[in-house]
């Protein structure tokens, strides 16, 4: 099985604060990885480093053959292969749902309007919002906006999708619809890395769960790890999280 994402001994500091202190893990094609941990454990930073939103100080990151840590990385190609969904959705408020989704395929991948529109209709159907194509973001609920954000990233047909705590800003009743979309996406074989607080979801959907603590990968395992934690830190974390 080919490796889609690989982090090798990644270090990252912000000023005097060392956030990542030697993070290493691998993601194979079709795998779903969930990263859990306390705030400040470095999980979001690690995820952001994969798409070069943060630049690592030391270590290597290889994504779909791109050497992300290298200064001569081709960002346009990297971001065509990697899709990322943010906690605050970041939809473009002055564009309709359809325009939001079609913008990048037309501008960055130079697809024709017709091709982009076909893709747009497909991904909207995939997230269950086909009828909302002409709406503006402010007319949608938080859960709907997040699903549009997922569709927007999917429209670029990436090799791997990153999710940065995408349900943390949502009301509990809206979280379910977004998790359902993510679960369905996983079932189609998409390679995914999720940073999440949703333990039950991580246990159910993820092939591998990574527990990060103080900037390091502390414990790795399958979903069963969460019911049977080995390290005291993870026991503490689970005990608190439940």
């Amino acid at each position: 099985m080919s490796t889609v994402v690989e982090l090798r001994d990644v270090h990252k500091r912000f000023g005097a604060n060392s956030v990542l202190k030697g993070v290493s893990f691998e993601v194979s094609k079709g795998q779903v990885i969930a990263i859990i941990g306390r705030s400040g454990s470095g999980k979001s930073t690690a995820l952001r480093c994969i798409d070069r939103l943060e630049i690592v100080d030391r270590g290597e990151i290889i994504v779909c053959g791109h050497r992300v840590h290298s200064p001569d990385i081709n960002l346009r190609k990297l971001r065509t292969d990697v899709g990322i969904v943010f906690q605050s959705y970041n939809l473009f408020p002055h564009l309709t749902v359809e325009q939001n989704i079609m913008l990048a395929p037309c501008a960055a991948k130079r697809l024709s309007k017709a091709d982009a529109k076909a893709i747009c209709e497909r991904v909207l159907r995939q997230v269950g919002l086909a009828e909302k194509s002409q709406a503006y973001p402010e007319q949608l609920s938080g859960g709907q906006q997040q699903r549009v954000a997922i569709a927007r990233s999917l429209a670029m047909e990436p090799q791997v999708m990153l999710f940065d705590e995408v349900t943390s800003a949502l009301d509990p009743q809206l979280t379910g619809e977004v998790l359902k979309v993510i679960e369905e996406l996983a079932a189609t074989g998409m390679t995914m890395v999720l940073v999440t607080h949703e333990m039950a979801f991580a246990a159910k959907v993820a092939d591998v769960v990574i527990f990060m603590h103080e900037g390091r990968v502390w414990e790795t395992g399958s979903g069963a790890m969460l019911t049977n934690p080995q390290t005291t830190e993870l026991q503490f974390f689970i005990g608190h999280a439940l």
Binding site: S88, Y89, L91, P93, P137, Q145
Partner: protein
């Protein structure tokens, strides 16, 4: 005989600058008092008062200050009142400033959160007490940066008084130029003097605005 720019010309320009400051002060104080009245009228519960104040502001903001100056200077003198350029310019600028400051201050009064009005009402304060003790002190804080910023506009606009003959800085420049015929040099010096007057006020206004925002929550934009 053509002289070059000398110390006497410099003194003349500095004298003009003093008159610029004097006219600015007159405009700010007169316009400020009137503007305060305008702002209060704009938030009055009486509809007729509100509408007349709005009409006044719309009227003054819809015509150039220069026309206002001409109206007071030429208009009033032909109507039988002889006015010195200073008085005419002073009246015109007072009217101008009252409308703009009135608008700015109205905005600041309305910017005081609704919740403050409600809290004050629930403490059984009368409307005057509410304004005086709760709303206006807070509005004052919000109003300081834009008011200081508008002072810059006042100083710059006094230059229009030169057109009706009042010898402030711009007019002093014209007079000096008429004797030495070096317009570019003279007006660069005049511009420098205006800059020296205005820039400290502008910088102060920016600093005040920044300090004010430190206390506010960051803007949210999904």
């Amino acid at each position: 005989m053509q002289t070059s720019f000398n110390i006497h010309h410099l003194y003349f320009l500095l004298n003009g600058m003093a008159w610029t400051l004097a006219l600015s002060l007159i405009a700010f104080i007169g316009g400020g008092i009137a503007g305060f009245a305008v702002a209060l009228c704009r938030v009055s519960p009486v509809a007729a008062v509100r509408w007349s104040a709005t009409a006044y502001v719309q009227l003054v903001q819809g015509i150039p200050l220069l026309i206002l100056m001409f109206m007071t200077y030429f208009g009033l003198s032909i109507a039988g009142w002889t006015l010195s350029a200073l008085v005419a310019a002073g009246i015109a600028m007072t009217i101008y400033v009252s409308a703009y400051l009135g608008e700015i201050w109205r905005g600041c009064i309305e910017a005081v959160a609704r919740t403050q009005w409600e809290a004050a009402e629930c403490l059984a304060l009368s409307r005057t007490q509410r304004m005086r003790l709760v709303i206006l002190p807070q509005a004052l804080r919000i109003a300081t940066p834009p008011t200081v910023g508008f002072m810059v506009q006042i100083v710059k606009n006094t230059s229009l008084a030169s057109i009706v003959g009042f010898v402030e800085l711009a007019r002093a420049g014209q007079v000096v130029n008429n004797s030495i015929f070096q317009p570019f040099l003279v007006y660069i010096i005049v511009a420098t003097f205006y800059f020296a007057l205005c820039y400290p006020l502008s910088a102060w206004s920016t600093r005040l605005e920044r300090r004010l925002q430190v206390g506010q929550p960051a803007p949210l934009f999904a």
